[in-house]
Each structure stands twice: as structure tokens, then as C-alpha cells.
Subunit: 418 residues, 2 copies
């Protein structure tokens, strides 16, 4: 069978499974998730053996230590996957929620019922734990999922899928609800992206290259974010101690993630006093600061920012800093260089806080908090399947609800339209 | 300037305008809508003169009477556009609504704020009144709109846009918030569909050919429906009088629209009694019935349905009819031949009504009501900008809310992530 035929067959099976998934009770879904958690523990040795094959191949291919680390299904990662499953069990089931029921002038009563999206296509890179995290969220929201992980994790992903499918089957649930595409060829992705009749949503997770490829080639709607270029604006009235803490947390705690801080904007009236304080802390933590001219005049020892540093996602211990005239200038900078991810103002000015929240266009806008909070778990969504910086359907971290939609339901007693 | 440059320039201007639109007060938006209504009346003669050019050209091109009728901006159509504007003024402003505010364990308070989508690209065919309807809804939801109507309505659309833009300018609103693309070439659509950095959403309205073209060529998310193949299932317990009324209303009241009825499914235990009743009424109204074998055995004078009649959008006084064993068989038929638009059960069985509502996958699922209610106005959305049978973002009729999205807002007092 050709790659095309295989993927089409899998997608058809997923669509068929999705129909039954949509009507599973919450108890049935939770029981399946529980079985999945038990099975992961019971078959840990098998999974780790298969994972070992990927690690050996990865070392032979010369993958970096960081890549190999992401690839490894250590006892700790296995335990985290099981904990993740338990958390998904504890989340409320979004499916079936009825809202906005109103009687209309015609006499019909109209409302909306939350339903699963159907079939989710997930395209991701190295971490095999995504296989379990994504599958569990999709299952809880009543969807089927077609997973396409990185070629370097293929044995791990197939082993995980096998264990999850056995758990589904033992609960009399169609195992096609969770499928991992078994071939490593890029061609498999190309085929997936054309199956708009079978797949309702594509979620790509990985580097900007992968995500652009998916976005440009998909006929299916894609929820994606390319990058996170998050700013903190230290306003005239800001508490300097608070601002230093928030900048340090944003830049240093985990610099390689999309909600890390990439650029600092400082009100001109605060710069002379604030910049030396924040620079002292940043320097201690090994952060390289790249400043505009005015910042350089205050901190002569820092590097001058290049034009390309504005809007740059460093993902490293590097921070761009710019002195701005006022909040207006800060917001203009964010319009020009932001990535619609997360933007923060540090202020004690009430009117500024309200205006910044209203006017800044980003999936998360914050007052006096760290950009690092931009996360499904921290936002109270329970768990996160990804983040969207496109505005359709979901904007920001996506949880269970974002894996559902709503249909209209109508109760009549014989009404016809006049 | 090339077509490409012109469209790009317009899209850039629209994006700039969208930034200011997002922050307009409800009063400012309503004042602008009021001005637009006044201007349409004040400049009716000019608009109708320009419309006359399109009508003359249309006649010369040999457009059908129905096409010419749709194209005409008669006094009645002008009055309807003004009334539409007044209705949009009366709708609540969705922008700024804050929901789901909750304090999280970290101490931050997280909620969601409703915001405009940004720039809407509307691609549509003949009716020039869509220009005003769509522009007014987009404006009320705080968006900018780029309109691309049919080439046969180009003078009418440009005249309407000119009048609307003057109204905006007189209220100190950026006139680029409402723009009609001035060239008739198909190339203009091709360019529009690539401008994913400037345009947030494409809504195509028109025939299936146009919509497929847009869906297949757009890099921008598209909200669309191809067709409406709506079914009514007459269950075992159905009230026959009610069922006849609902079938007649669905098929006869306005057969050329997407929420018209296209196929009737009848429970085998009702068929012998019900089919003669409904056929008597349909025959009187000039409807051609095309039946399955079992229907033909009861009504020997009707035509036999061809395999292609199942799932066919007749848009005419033709109805397919099939006798089914039970609700399960009816739902299977709907899965196979439905278009995710509107599906109806006529029943007096409580359990069946609940199961049909829950399990049938369509943007609108109804009990004991006519398919013809599937409409933004009838559903209480106020006005309708289109209908979506894709599940992302909107499923079913789309009103003002569907022209918005939500961002996360966070109130902190110095929290950092540990």
C-alpha cells in the first residue's frame, strides 16, 4: 500500500472512530484514561526498550545532548505522563454543555451545545511524551487523533500508541481514536494536510520551519504560533523591585521557551534609575544586554542593539532593551515587533493598566506579572495542547475547550417560518 | 501600480485602520452607522445611477432575469439596507466583554476579553447590498473590511463604498476601514488570499465554485459552507399534521436557499399513512418527489430516485424521499449524505429527541421545527454575515460575536513563576 493509501485509510478510520467518541459518556472516557495510565506503568519496560532504539539511532546520527534529552522516556518522564493523564481525568468534560438557550419571537427555543471537533491531526517534533499528552486531551474532549511525531522518535511513539490502543480496546473503545502514523517520510505530512474531509484541525508543534511548512501547505485549518517575542514595558510609575523580579523571571527562569522575555522597554523617566538595577541582576545571571542608544548612554558597558535585535526571539540569555518616551511609544514598538504572544506592563498607574489591557493586541496581555505565566496550566485551563497566535477559534493557550466547538440546537413544537 | 501592489496597499491601510477601529467606543461606532444610513438615503440617486450602469451592462451581457433582479438597488432594496443598518445599531457591542475572570493558585487573576478579529476579507457574488450589510456588521464588531464583490456589480459596489467612506470620514474614522477592491480581475482575489499578515479571516459568499476556489487557494483562514443538504426525519411517533407543515415549509417557502429542505426520511411504520398525506400537499405545490423503492411502492406515481439524488442540493421544487427502518438508519443516512448544515427530527418520543440533538453532527440540529429557521436572525444573533459548516471558530450562522475573538488578560501584583 502506498503512503497515500495508508494515511487515507488511517484518516478514514479516525473519522469513523470520532463518531463514536463524540457520544462516549464522561465515565467511559475517564475509565479509558485510567486504563491508559495503568498500561503505561505496566508496560514501562517495553516502552523504554523501544525508546532505547531511538536513543541509539539518535546518538549514531549525532543528535545534540539537548535533543537526546528531549527524546528520552526516563522514569521521570514516564511518571510525568501518568500524572498528566490523572490531571486530564480530573478536568471537567466540556462536551454536552448547553448555553445561551433563549426563546425566539417565532416560538422556537435556540441554544448551543458544545461538541467535539472530530479528528485532530497533530504534527510535532522530538518529545515523545507529546503523544500521550495530546492523545489524552483529545480523548477527553471526545475527538479522535492522528499523530505524526518526529522521525527520530518513531519507535517510541509507535510503542506508546500501541499501549494506548490496547487500553482503548480493553474498554471497548475503537482503537482508531488514537493512531500514530508509522512512516517517517515527509510525504506522510503532505498527504495528511490534504485530507480536509477527514481531519478537522491540524496542530503543529515544533520549530518555526515545521510550522511554516504546515501552515503553507495545509488545506485544513491550522492552529499555530510561530514564535514568542514577549515584551515587558516598565512604565513611569512602576515599582522597580517588582520590575526587576518580573524581568529576571521572564528572561532567566527558562530562556528557551516561547513565553520567555525577549525585549525590555523602559519609560525615559525611569531609565536612569531602573536600568542600573536591572542590569546588575541580569549581569549576575549571565544575561547579555543589547541596548538602544539611550540605554547605552546609561549603561556604557552593554552592547549596542542591532536593528535585527528588535523582534528577535533569542531563546537564550540575551535581552534587548530600549528606552521609550511613553506608553504610546511602547505600544507602537509592540505593534511593530511583537508576535501576538504575551505583552506585559509594569505600572502603578490605573488608567495606563486599563488602556494597555484593552489596546495591546496579543493573545495574553498582563499587568504586573511575569510573561512566564502565559501557559494553559497557569491560566487555569488544566492542561495545554498548544498555543495559538492566530485569532480564529483560539487565541492564546489552548485547553480542552479549544478542542471542541458548539452547534446550534433548536426545540420547536411544530413552528414553520412565515 | 500593479494589481498586486494596489491590493497590498489596500490591505495595509485596512490593517492600520483596524487598529483604531478596535478602540472605538460603542457610541462612536453607532454614530458612524447612523451617518451611513443617512448618507445612503441622501445619495440614493447617485447610487442608483451607478447601479443602472451595472444593470445596462448586465442586460447587454445577457444575465438572467434572476441575476438582474439580485443586482438591482431598487428603492425597496435601498430601504432594506437602511433598515439593516438600524438593526445593527440596536445590537449590543460585543467588544470589551470580559468573562471567566478567576484567581489562579499563583495569585494572578486571569480572564478573557472579547476583541475584534482585525481585518475581514469578504468575497461575494452579485448582490451589492451585501457590501453594506457586511460592512456594517464588521464595523460594529470593531473590524476593518476589504470587500471584493462580483464584477457585474462593480459600479454599484464602488458607489456604495464611496458613500460609506464619506460617512466614516465625517465622523473622523479612518475611511480605509471599509474598502471595495476596484478591479474586476480574478487576479485581485488571488492576491487577497495570500495576504495572511494583513487579513485575519476570509468569508466567501456565493456559489460552490467560488467557495471551493477560495478555500483551495487561501492561506488565510476561511469560514465557509459549500451547500445545504438539509433532511427532515419523520419518526414513528411524529404528528402527521405537524410533519406535513414542516416539510412543506422547508421545501416550498423558498426552495433556492441553503436552509431549504432537500430530502425527507420517513420511519417505515409511518410511511403508508404519512406519505400519501405529504404527497398530496407537495403535488399541489408543484413539487416533484423522487423516492426510494419502498416509497415508490406506496406512491406509484412518483419518480424513482437516482443514486445521485441522495445528498443532492436541488435548490428547486424537487424533494428526495426515503423510507428508513428506524432513527438509527435515518442518522446513518444523514452521516453519509448530509452537509453539516441543518437536520430535523419530527418526533413525539422524548428519548429520540434528546438522542438526535446530541448525536447528529450538523451546525443546527432541530426537533419539530422547520429547517428554514437556520438563520442568524431567526436564531437571535441579530444579523448574519454568513454561515459556517466548518467547525473551527464558528459552526452555523455567524453574527457579530463570530466577528470577534477573545484574548487573555492578567491582573497581577508582581507575581513571578516559580
Amino acid at each position: 500500500m502506498s503512503i497515500q493509501e495508508t494515511i487515507q485509510q488511517m484518516a478514514h478510520a479516525a473519522k469513523k472512530a470520532a463518531r463514536t467518541m463524540a457520544n462516549l459518556s464522561t465515565t467511559a472516557k475517564n475509565n479509558a484514561l485510567l486504563k491508559m495510565a495503568d498500561a503505561l506503568m505496566a508496560q514501562k519496560d517495553y516502552i523504554q526498550q523501544e525508546n532505547q532504539k531511538d536513543l541509539v539511532a539518535g546518538r549514531a546520527k549525532g543528535l545534540s545532548a539537548a535533543m537526546l534529552d528531549r527524546l528520552e522516556l526516563s522514569d521521570k518522564v514516564m511518571a510525568a505522563m501518568v500524572k498528566g493523564l490523572q490531571e486530564v481525568i480530573a478536568l471537567p468534560d466540556p462536551v454536552g454543555e448547553i448555553s445561551e438557550m433563549n426563546k425566539q419571537p417565532s416560538g422556537i427555543t435556540v441554544g448551543r451545545m458544545r461538541i467535539p471537533l472530530g479528528v485532530i491531526g497533530m504534527i510535532y517534533e522530538s518529545r515523545p511524551n507529546v503523544t500521550v499528552d495530546a492523545a489524552s486531551l483529545c480523548l477527553k474532549a471526545g475527538n479522535a487523533i492522528l499523530l505524526r511525531g518526529g522521525s527520530e522518535a518513531i519507535n517510541s511513539n509507535l510503542a506508546l500508541a500501541k499501549v494506548l490502543q490496547e487500553a482503548l480496546a480493553s474498554e471497548n473503545i475503537d482503537a482508531a481514536a488514537i493512531q500514530v502514523i508509522p512512516m517517517a517520510d515527509r510525504e506522510a505530512v503532505n498527504v495528511m494536510l490534504t485530507l480536509e474531509e477527514q481531519i478537522d484541525l491540524i496542530i503543529p508543534r515544533g520549530g518555526e520551519g515545521l510550522i511554516r511548512f504546515v501552515a503553507e501547505n495545509s488545506r485544513i485549518p491550522v492552529l499555530k504560533h510561530y514564535k514568542g517575542v514577549c515584551h515587558v514595558f516598565v512604565d513611569e510609575s512602576a515599582d522597580h523591585g517588582m520590575a526587576v523580579d518580573i524581568v529576571m523571571n521572564g528572561k532567566v527562569q527558562r530562556p528557551g521557551v516561547c513565553n520567555a522575555l525577549e525585549a525590555l522597554l523602559v519609560h525615559k523617566n525611569e531609565a536612569a534609575l531602573f536600568l542600573p538595577k536591572v542590569w546588575a541582576a541580569l549581569k549576575d545571571a549571565g544575561v547579555e544586554l543589547r541596548g538602544c542608544k539611550r540605554a547605552g548612554a546609561i549603561l556604557p558597558e552593554i552592547k549596542a542593539a542591532l536593528p535585527t535585535d528588535w523582534g528577535m526571539e533569542f531563546l537564550d540569555l540575551i535581552l534587548a532593551v530600549k528606552v521609550v518616551d511613553d506608553m504610546e511609544a511602547a505600544m507602537d514598538h509592540i505593534v511593530q515587533y511583537g508576535s501576538l504572544h504575551t505583552e506585559v506592563i509594569i505600572t502603578n498607574n490605573y488608567a495606563h493598566s486599563q488602556r494597555f489591557l484593552r489596546e495591546v493586541d496579543a493573545s495574553a496581555v498582563m499587568v504586573n506579572a511575569s510573561t512566564r505565566f502565559s501557559d494553559g496550566g497557569q491560566f487555569g485551563l488544566g492542561s495545554e495542547i498548544g498555543i495559538s497566535t492566530t485569532k480564529l477559534h483560539a487565541y492564546g493557550p489552548m485547553g480542552l475547550k479549544e478542542l471542541t466547538t458548539k452547534k446550534f440546537i433548536v426545540y420547536g413544537d411544530g413552528q414553520v417560518r412565515s
